[in-house]
């Protein structure tokens, strides 16, 4: 069936997008125990930097993307050192801080660049046909990158030294410090990685969709949905959560006449899952 095929392909692509966006947010939440609501704003700024370098200065788009990722990675280090570290991981202070960051970033963009929306051209233009369905190559790239990232991150966390340190910090900050783990360095790496992930997904999304000062807000909501469903503490769980929400968003609006009902059903499914497992599908204690 034609329609189902298109929906399936779209579902996979959407899931990949949601997972990429949610990963950065989940990383900071699970490992540092903080809600970085500025994740959406960072996503947006990273995309703007890519756009600025690629379109205005004329650098090759992929190069622009990597430069932007490096810049935002540095910004992540700055964030950790000056904005998160002084509050010693106190969640609620960090929430206020993240809103301050959103305000600063969004207002700066609006004031300097203006409220216009625009789009990045495709990273690799063209489409591939799968039977009757044609998928743009960009979407396939996102899929591949998303999958690689998920696997890489999970392996990193579980196998590498840094990953183990992150887990230790997530479990018990003070004991980890007593064990000699450099908490500040661990936190810095986690924040930098989160910012890089945000920039990557933001840049791709702004070619798939569009770029504007407020695109971060919508994506933040999606990231939160995915993380609530997956639960705090599990990065692999993001895969499941992202797939569920991605597929629901791809199928429901097509098969249901009323788009708002589709939205409500997605919420309803999440509520249902939360009632059975209030900590999320794969949530477990982090502190």
């Amino acid at each position: 069936m034609d329609v189902a095929l298109v929906c399936t392909v779209n579902g996979i692509v959407l899931s990949a997008i949601y997972i990429m966006v949610a990963l950065g947010f989940a990383l900071l939440l699970s490992i540092m125990g903080i809600f970085n609501f500025a994740h959406g704003a960072i996503y947006m700024v990273g995309a703007f930097i890519t756009y600025g370098l690629a379109k205005t200065i004329g650098i090759n788009q992929w190069v622009a993307l990597f430069i932007s990722m490096a810049v935002m990675g540095g910004f992540g280090l700055f964030l950790e050192k000056f904005c998160f570290r002084p509050f010693g991981g106190k969640v609620f202070e960090v929430i206020v801080m993240s809103v301050a960051i959103i305000l600063v970033l969004e207002t700066t963009v609006v004031v300097t660049i203006g409220g216009s929306n625009r789009a990045l051209p495709a990273f690799i233009p063209g489409t591939i046909k799968f039977g009757v369905v044609s998928v743009s190559i960009d979407r396939i790239i996102i899929l591949i990158i998303g999958a690689i990232l998920l696997v890489a991150l999970t392996l990193l966390i579980q196998k590498s030294m840094i990953g183990q340190q992150m887990l230790a910090v997530a479990q018990d900050r003070e004991s980890a410090a007593l064990q000699g783990i450099n908490i500040n360095r661990t936190a810095a790496i986690a924040t930098a990685v989160a910012c890089i992930l945000a920039t990557l997904s933001g840049s791709f999304m702004s070619s798939l969709y569009y770029l504007g000062p407020f695109i971060g807000d919508g994506m933040l909501m999606k990231a939160i949905e995915v993380v609530i469903l997956s639960g705090i503490g599990s990065l692999g769980g993001i895969l499941a959560g992202g797939l569920i929400i991605g597929f629901m968003d791809a199928f429901l609006p097509v098969y249901l006449p009323n788009p708002l009902v589709a939205q409500a059903i997605t919420i309803g499914v999440i509520i249902g899952i939360l009632l059975i497992r209030p900590k999320g599908l794969f949530g477990h204690e982090v502190s």
């Binding site: 298109v6 789009a119 569009y210 407020f214 791809a250 009323n258």
Partner: protein, 406 residues
């Protein structure tokens, strides 16, 4: 002691408010020299993208009128000034801005704003305060205009007239098209728009197939919308009131599914260059009620040529949103002139009785008696333009006479 200090701080804050606002008297600003018009626009948030042009259009109107000697009411000459406030993208943002303009600045006339949920919000402040409000757009919902809102006008053709104009053009230039699929945002306006647009189509010998395809305002991915529209197998797809990103993304999604037939918009003010910027080559062939910034368009009245020049002097490319912003202020001033009064109620009474009115696109008229129950809508001829080879090309003027838009 600590609490005492805290409370003293609070006292000081309140005292400073008292001082700062008792020293600012909110008086009528219709003093001898300047007529201040308030302007509320959604400048931040998702509508900021297309509504940022509207205050620019209003400024062009201000400059145009002031350059032509301002207006004279009862022997006293006035220059006009426009104070712009950001309505954010919500009703409470709009009411906050309206409250500020009405009670803090004391304006008697407000222009601007188009989104369906902001316009009625402004009405709740302006009607009781006796302030005349001229919106730039009307989304087709009953709560936006009608006999219950004597001081509410719309300065340019909008939702329904856009449907009439574009469907007329479609019928003329695409004779093979008989059926149309209709996509519209589901934020509450579908219920009021649906019957009207179908009736219009039927009158023209076209038909809208299937249900209106709606999408939620928070939609990020438009593939499901495109799928539903394409599945209706219509000869053309029509996209209703939306902002540029939604147009662009819907176009991308529909073309991405391999649909090659005509796609157009019936929204009466779209910014084709922005849409082309987002959709790229997928926007090819997309047409709608829009005008390129070209003074050499045929049948363009001198006033429009002047405004295009004024805009480009400012570094702006005139587009349909500029025109709407211009028209809201300009038609208001024309009404004030005709009424020879600065009393909003007097102006309103005169305005709704006016048959003809000067507009940026030449001779216009007041209309809407049958559609809305009040003669509060400014109508002028609608330009249809198309995206060809990445550029906006003017195609035709569609006039909106009484038989089409009663």
């Amino acid at each position: 002691m600590k609490k005492f200090l805290v409370v003293i701080s609070l006292l000081l804050i309140i005292a400073s408010i008292t001082v700062s606002c008792t020293s600012e008297k909110s008086t009528s600003t219709a003093n001898a020299k300047t007529l201040t018009i308030g302007e509320i626009e959604p400048l931040t948030g998702m509508f900021g993208d297309i509504f940022k042009y509207v205050p620019q259009g209003a400024q062009l109107a201000k400059d145009y009128i002031n350059n032509h000697g301002g207006i004279t009411i009862g022997g006293q000459k006035y220059v006009i000034d426009i104070v712009v406030r950001d309505g954010k993208d919500s009703p409470e943002g709009a009411t906050a801005a309206a409250n500020e303009l009405v009670y803090d600045k004391g304006v008697k006339f407000i222009a601007g704003t188009g989104p369906a949920f902001m316009v009625p919000a402004i009405d709740t402040v302006t009607e009781p305060a006796g302030v005349l409000y001229t919106a730039v757009y009307q989304n087709g919902m009953k709560v936006e205009m009608g006999p219950n809102y004597p001081l509410k006008f719309v300065g340019s053709p909008c939702s329904f007239s856009g449907q009439v104009a574009t469907l007329t053009y479609l019928k003329e230039k695409y004779p093979s098209v008989k059926t149309v699929a209709f996509i519209l945002i589901d934020d509450g306006q579908i219920a009021d728009n649906d019957p009207v647009v179908r009736a219009t189509a039927t009158k023209l010998g076209l038909s809208i197939v299937g249900d209106t395809v709606g999408y939620a305002p928070s939609t990020q991915d438009f593939t499901p919308v495109a799928q539903k529209a394409v599945a209706l197998n219509a000869d053309a797809i029509m996209i209703g009131n939306a902002i540029s990103p939604w147009f662009g993304l819907t176009l991308k999604a529909i073309r991405g599914l391999g649909y090659t037939k005509p796609i157009f918009s019936c929204c009466d003010a779209i910014v084709l260059p922005d849409i082309a910027g987002i959709a790229g080559s997928d926007a090819e062939g997309f047409f709608g009620a829009s005008i390129p910034s070209d003074p050499n368009i045929p049948d363009l009245p001198q006033i429009a040529k002047d405004v295009i020049k004024m805009a480009s002097d400012q570094g702006w490319q005139l587009n349909s949103m500029h025109v709407q912003g211009f028209s809201a202020v300009y038609s208001l001033i024309m009404a004030i002139k005709a009424a020879n009064s600065l009393d909003p109620k007097v102006v309103a009474a005169k305005w709704e009785k006016m048959d003809k009115i000067d507009t940026i696109f030449g001779a216009g008229r007041m209309g809407g008696l049958q559609t809305y129950g009040v003669n509060h809508n400014v109508y002028y001829k609608t330009p249809i333009s198309i995206i060809e080879n990445g550029k906006v090309v003017f195609k035709e003027w569609i006039s909106l006479d009484k038989s089409l838009m009663p």
